[in-house]
Amino acid sequence: MLEKSPTINKSFGYMTLERMGSRYPSRLSFSRSMLRRMKQERWVVDRVKFDLDKVGYGTAIYEINTPNQIYSVVCFSQFIPDEERSDRVIAEKWDTTYAMHIGKISAKDLDRLKKNTPLQEAGRNSPSELVLSRGNKSVRLFKKIVNCLSIGQQPTIEEINDVGYLLRTTAVYGSGKFGLSDFDRTRSATHFDQPFRAEMLAVYIIREFSIHLVEHIAYHQNPSQAVKLDASIKRHIGIGNSTGLGMAPFIIKHPKLIHKWMSQFDKALNEITKIKHIDERKFNKLSSLLKKSKSYLDEVLTTSDYQKTKNKKSFYELDKIIDYCKSIKTSDLKDTRWNDLIKFSEANLSFDAQEIVKVQIIELFPEIADPLAENMSESDDLFIDPSATVNQLINIIENQYQWSIDTNFQDKNNTYLFWYVSEEKLEPRLGERYNEQGAELEQHLGIGKMVSELYHFLKENSAETKNLTIAKFLLIHPEYRGIIRRIQTLTNYPFGEVSDNILAKNTLPLNMLRFKLSFFGASRYDPKSDRWLRVSFFAGAPFYEELNSQNVEDWGFATMNSYQ
């Protein structure tokens, strides 16, 4: 299914699926901003418990000391048979499981978490827990590194690059799931006032644990010869993540939040385009960042032909912007704007390559981007404007949802898919409406179809109805309440809506997944089907013991040469 090329309407700006699926992490990404905050506020990480047996099964606890609060990440490691290891939500056992707790963990809390955390969705958490997660071993890399270290050897960085991580998380839950602290509470009562910041910290600590785990097992395998991972290659190890369809409904259900993320990115670029000349030092740095991006694309491995094609295309297209930069004489920089580079990219490069150019330009301006990255939160509340008229609503639809009006929903190809939640561990899934059971239970995610139905209904109504206030119209037609509230609210949130029909047969859900993952800061996209993919977090990032003001900035698009 990946090889199908989705028919995408390119005329509706940034929020088409194709563009969403072309995004890359930036300074505004949550992993980056979390690590900056960690450095700025001098958080201290202490491994206060490491009670694992010789083969690595047991409990570890890491305490993160922030200026006002201690947080604890508790890690449980256990044996599972290979046949029970699965990346999917429907799995019931994992090599490792984690909880992040507010404060130090008491013996009573540890006992409670020991009983519940390994059960994941089937267990219970308290409002004192912020994150629940689990991770499985990358069987081939984990064993390989244990064996190397145990005989006093280092793996090659190429071997690390082949996989990219030792442990792969398969879910990172927060924000009220399974009894965890609600985000409203987390935002006001903890350090984690930005979306997914607590989750990013937990993932960062899990990466740390993965190194400690592999070194611990190697040592006990051969105490006399075992060595620790060399710092020059260790940083290339990220923490893996498998991500499935759950991210797509999130994007539809949190339109104001999505708008916020996009608008902050857009503001960063807009501020940069106002700068009237290009600074030579920054210009030279951009050239090196673009070359680094090329190296990253060259090195990153994926089994997906779809992703290989994208990466390869971007790899070659980056030469165009590199050559364009070379053509600009140093003496002409004072008459050149960053916007000239962006415009060149938009005119000459694919969306993927354009995004690389944009994120690398943003990379040069921490004074612009970093404050924006500290303001990525937004309320989910949607509101009816009861005094507006039906006519005004029609105008909004015509101005903002032309893509929906233009879609023929009588064509079965445009209503081919339905999004649903399976009774099997509530796994989010996608079905084929005309071939599978369950379409009557689909989630309300087909925004384009709902808007289209509302629009045509309104247009067919009398002038008298069109002059009604929305409040009166909804008294008569409460069935349109949800979609009208959404349309009215999003009038002021133009990035909030995916401008494509996600029920269409040619929809590629991966695009939505990659969009969200880019804001998280994920790299090394490795699609495994059209519906799920593997990525890495913190690949190239410094570990907490080596974190400093220089390396906290430099780890994006990490390559095998980044550590020399």
Binding site: R85, G179, D182, S422, H477, I483
Partner: protein, 236 residues
């Protein structure tokens, strides 16, 4: 057992969806129940007791002509279905007027108004409501700027059984004096309740969860293999 607000809201949302509430109406009804449960008004218990009148009987329609004077006969129809539409309507009717008096007759579960009035305080400066509780005590609530007080009043105008009188205003006028305030809801009390988690009645939770489960698509081999994308090479 402790649950988060998110869990109570999403489980209620799926329950309402399963009972035939359309998109939007399900969200509003779930908000009503979750807000009541969070603020210790036993929202889930109210919902359990309302299932019979709302399950597959959704009717959120209100004839606008019935609203031409200041009273409306709800005819025992649940505010879970009609409440949000009414509040929106009254908000637009308030418009440029200084204030608005409304009477709802034959209104079951007047407590369902509390979350709606609390939420509308983002747009309406002041509102209050008065009704008789099941013990024929006069209950009074007022909301101003995200602060809600609920308590008892006496020696006031008569309120009939199953009647709710609501007052909306752009100004804060002293309407009635509380004999006693039994509950104050602020952003701080809400934060405190979130910090403690929600502990619903176990039986109620089971009933609502069972309703919510009606929205789940039954398992099948095809769904398991295709629905989430397949290609599971978990031991690589």
């Amino acid at each position: 057992m402790s649950f988060s607000y998110y869990e109570v809201y999403t489980t209620s949302l799926r329950a309402f969806s399963s009972m035939g509430f359309p998109y939007g109406a399900d969200e509003d009804a779930a908000y009503i129940i979750a807000w009541l449960e969070l603020n210790k008004f036993n929202g889930l218990n109210s919902l359990v007791n309302s299932i019979e009148v709302v399950d597959n009987k959704y009717d959120g329609k209100i004839n606008p002509n019935a609203l031409n004077n200041s009273s409306l006969d709800l005819n025992y129809s649940s505010l879970l279905m009609k409440g949000t539409g009414l509040i929106d309507f009254y908000q637009s009717e308030l418009g440029d007027k200084k204030d608005l008096h409304v009477t709802l007759n034959n209104c079951p579960n007047p407590e369902y108004l509390l979350p709606l009035l609390y939420r509308s305080s983002k747009k309406i400066y002041y509102s209050n409501a008065i009704w008789l509780d099941t013990n024929n005590q006069i209950q009074f609530c007022e909301v101003i700027k995200n602060i809600m007080k609920i308590g008892k009043v006496s020696n006031q105008e008569l309120v009939d059984k199953k009647q709710v009188r609501i007052f909306f205003s752009h100004e804060h006028k002293i309407q009635k004096k509380f004999d006693s305030v039994t509950c104050t809801i602020t952003s701080k009390t809400i934060q405190d309740n979130l910090a403690n988690g929600i502990s619903p009645n176990e039986n109620n939770w089971k009933i609502i969860s069972k309703l919510a489960d009606r929205t789940l698509v039954p398992e099948s081999e095809e769904s398991r293999i295709k629905g989430a994308g397949g290609s599971d090479d978990a031991n690589d």
